[in-house]
């Protein structure tokens, strides 16, 4: 099989796949499973870059859950006015 013929066959296959792609039918009814979240996934708060935050808050290392928890805990302790007064 020559390269030209092979290229033609591959091109035809791609063309058919793209052309018939719209003919497929997607499920119109969502299948809900009891107790299983069906929505979109959410990102974790520690996956954000604190430097990119337009309203700077605590500092932590991007992607590091422990440092985020530590930063939030520090902020959390600020709600204790007994330690703030000391």
């Amino acid at each position: 099989m020559t390269n030209t013929r092979r290229l033609f066959l591959v091109g035809a296959a791609v063309l058919v796949a793209v052309g018939l792609g719209a003919c497929g039918e997607r499920d119109q009814v969502t299948l809900y499973k009891q107790g299983k979240y069906q929505g979109k996934p959410d990102t974790k708060p520690w996956e954000n870059d604190p430097a990119a935050n337009p309203y700077p808050g605590s500092k932590w290392n991007k992607g590091d859950k422990t440092s985020w928890e530590s930063a939030v805990k520090t902020r959390n302790l600020a709600q204790n006015e007994y330690t703030r007064a000391e």
């Binding site: 979240y37 069906q38 959410d42 954000n48 337009p54 928890e69």
Partner: protein, 208 residues
């Protein structure tokens, strides 16, 4: 692992509604929807009046999650109960199931239509790109993604409302109770509805 919770100290709450205002301002909650409210019992009766700020308590075993027919609720790693508004059908089951009346429904429209449910997100946004316009429009501010805690708790003037990791706020509250020597009952059935052996409250209309 952090387990985010709210705790309201009924001994300190002065019914200023600052938490309600902070929430509405932070999240730009629409007219008619209150994610947080201040409830007062025995209003005007000296010594018996108590106020408490109530919103979604982010239950560990949330009844709203259990009854949702489209399973639009999820719990984050920090223990915050959130939901996907794109899935919500506004049926109101969560409202009937919630013991705190947390789920809210927009009442706008000529026929008072019931839109998609809205509730306190613990200022954690929702299932959209963090700190994006879409997230803010649908769910409000995402303060956790900024390393902050809910606006209502952080701005409470008397620090009656504590919000954050359950262990941390429990420690703060415990220290407070030891210092003042009372108020360990927090909030519960006894505080809300009294006990059978307690004397009857003053007649209605008795004001201080």
């Amino acid at each position: 692992m952090a387990r985010m919770k709210f705790l309201c100290d009924a001994e300190r709450c002065i019914e200023c509604n600052g938490c309600v205002t902070a929430c509405k301002n932070e999240n730009e909650v629409p007219w008619g929807v209150n994610r947080r409210r201040v409830v007062t019992i025995n209003d005007g009766i000296v010594g018996a009046e108590k106020s408490i700020s109530v919103a979604c308590m982010h239950c560990s075993d949330a009844p709203c999650m259990a009854v949702c027919p489209v399973d639009c609720f999820y719990r984050t790693d920090e223990g915050v109960v959130l939901h996907d508004k794109d899935l919500c059908i506004g049926c109101g089951y969560c409202f009937y199931a919630c013991p705190f009346g947390a789920p809210q429904f927009p009442q706008a429209g000529a026929f008072g239509l019931r839109g998609k449910m809205d509730k306190c997100t613990f200022c954690a946004g929702g299932p959209e790109k963090d700190l994006s316009k879409e997230e803010f429009t649908k769910y409000g501010s995402n303060r956790l993604a900024q390393g902050k805690l809910p606006a209502c708790a952080e701005m409470c003037s008397t620090k009656a409302l504590l919000g954050g990791d359950g262990d941390v706020i429990a420690d703060i509250y415990r220290q407070r109770v030891f210092k003042r020597g009372k108020g360990s009952e927090v909030w519960g059935w006894g505080t809300a509805y009294g006990k059978p052996d307690q004397p009857k409250a003053a007649p209605a209309g008795a004001k201080s």
